[in-house]
């Protein structure tokens, strides 16, 4: 069974803090993704990675960066958190050429 694990279920951070959201998958998938989910806006792609040390911008990369030093781990970084980054963050992984994306349980981030 594929497992995608996000480091925190709930997180509260202060404005201006540097925030790290961690995601680990255990199925040797090449592709990993970070989405944010907001009511009425669905899932929007922030960044994705198709290999170690490779990263591509998604639809809403502003204010975020990512790191993929190991194949199984994909980190989302908020360099200076702002209140408009309060959201649910979902990590997903997918085998290259595969069908379905597997999602983590999500991290609900609140920036105060």
């Amino acid at each position: 069974d594929v497992k995608v694990t996000q480091s925190s279920r709930y997180l509260v951070k202060r404005t201006g803090e540097k925030v790290f959201l961690e995601c680990v998958q255990d199925m040797d998938h090449e592709n990993m993704f970070w989405y944010r989910q907001d009511p009425g806006l669905g899932l929007r792609l922030i960044y994705f990675s198709y290999d170690v040390k490779m990263k591509e911008k998604g639809d809403i990369p502003e204010g975020y960066s990512v790191s993929r030093e190991k194949k199984e781990r994909f980190s989302l970084i908020l360099e200076s958190a702002s209140t408009n980054q309060t959201s649910m963050y979902l990590c997903a992984s997918k085998r290259q050429g595969g069908t379905e994306a597997f999602f983590g349980q999500g991290t609900r981030l609140t920036v105060v």
């Binding site: 669905g42 792609l45 994705f48 198709y50 050429g97 994306a101 999602f103």
Partner: protein
Amino acid sequence: GQQVMQIPQYQHVQEGEDFTTYCNSSTTLSNIQWYKQRPGGHPVFLIQLVKSGEVKKQKRLTFQFGEAKKNSSLHITATQTTDVGTYFCAGDSGYSTLTFGKGTMLLVSP
């Protein structure tokens, strides 16, 4: 960039009624996927459609992919309370990234 529109945004039905959600893409898709997210949960893959005009069934769920590969639908026959959740379509333009629609939230009253 690619856009995927999904309607309706929300639907409330009585148990036993049918439900349909529709998905339209601004570009031709190599395939389309459907996911279900239960309240408080994360999206879970339901199905992928690849061929033009394809129709697939999973028990009471029927999925269709349009002839032009730009639209899709999910129909649930005789809804049950276990069908509650948000249904997302996701288009794959062929570069391994999925563009999600905004989802249709389904509420089923017993």
